[in-house]
Symmetry: C2
Subunit: 188 residues, 2 copies
């Protein structure tokens, strides 16, 4: 890594009620929210920055559209007073300059990412962020996705979709690690 992870911002992406909509189908990493909550507790105890990225879909049929309960943060990982909330309407959290501005204020190019979905907004944000020069640490067990049918009509389990996305990213666009490995690192 190019910079210590002590004090690096924890960026949680799109973890809103909408991700539980049954239309998504079966998911992997059922403990992701609880694991992120454990990490959040540590970050809050240390007073390190937490940034919540909130997806405000402009699609009329999206459960992420504002004005519905799907737009609300999942309670396990909801922001507390003083934490930064950044809204986005695209997949990449870096299209709108707000996230870049927040990171610049924190004087860091290093960030830790968790959230959903591994192969959609997470993958797009990590790809874009690395191309912009950010040093990203992605939490494999702090992300999840859903079953998917590929372009040839072949069905893949959520865990396969997730593991494939992580292999696109690891070493090429970010470092993929786990929540426990990160906790060991910062306590070392």
């Amino acid at each position: 890594m190019t910079q210590s992870l002590h004090g690096a911002p924890l960026v949680i992406i799109d973890l809103q009620m909408a991700i539980d909509h049954p239309d998504w189908g079966p998911r992997n990493n059922p403990d992701a929210e609880r694991s992120i909550a454990k990490l959040l507790t540590v970050w809050r105890e240390k007073g390190w920055p937490v940034i919540h990225v909130k997806h405000n879909s402009s699609h009329s049929n999206s459960p992420y559209r504002p004005g519905q309960s799907g737009n609300d943060f999942k309670p396990e990982v909801a922001p507390i007073a003083g934490e930064n909330i950044i809204a986005k309407t695209t997949h990449s959290a870096f299209i709108d300059p707000a996230l870049g501005t927040a990171l610049a204020k924190l004087k860091t190019k290093t960030l830790i990412i968790a959230g959903v979905k591994t192969n959609n907004s997470i993958e797009t944000t990590v790809r874009h962020g690395e191309n912009l020069g950010y040093d990203i640490h992605l939490l494999a067990d702090g992300c999840f996705t859903h079953d998917q049918v590929d372009w040839n009509g072949k069905s893949w389990s959520a865990e396969d979709v997730h593991a494939h996305a992580l292999s696109n990213l690891d070493g090429e666009y970010c470092r993929v690690t786990t929540i426990d490995a990160l906790l060991s690192e910062i306590s070392a």
Copy 2:
């Protein structure tokens, strides 16, 4: 589609000799270069714009690094006089403003994309481009990739990696189509 594909720019990404390096492993779509060449002939006969995106890697061990034969365009799809060549050093062709500027000069937000690799620079460019507001038509048989081992250690064939990437993109970030379907559309 939001705009006619008649006269839309054909953007060919990273189709350089480096992609034949044996370290990549087995690939899919062995006819991709010949199929793109067929499309190029039509585009050139019609006088429609062609943009060649050239990857100039800054990594010392990359076959795409300038100063090696790997940096050269593949002969089947090499630029001819008058065609635009845009250099890039990152995965997304939209990080440097040159591609956006070229498209603005052509007064279009619509583009057709082919090239390599499906799940690396192609996928990053399509994700980024859509998030910037471009209307992208991606040619399934005008792209290819290589075998890959995922984060769980499971091996995927190049065709599975390719089909999985296309299913991430189709309908969410672009329209995935084929070269023959595109040729039928423009002659209709």
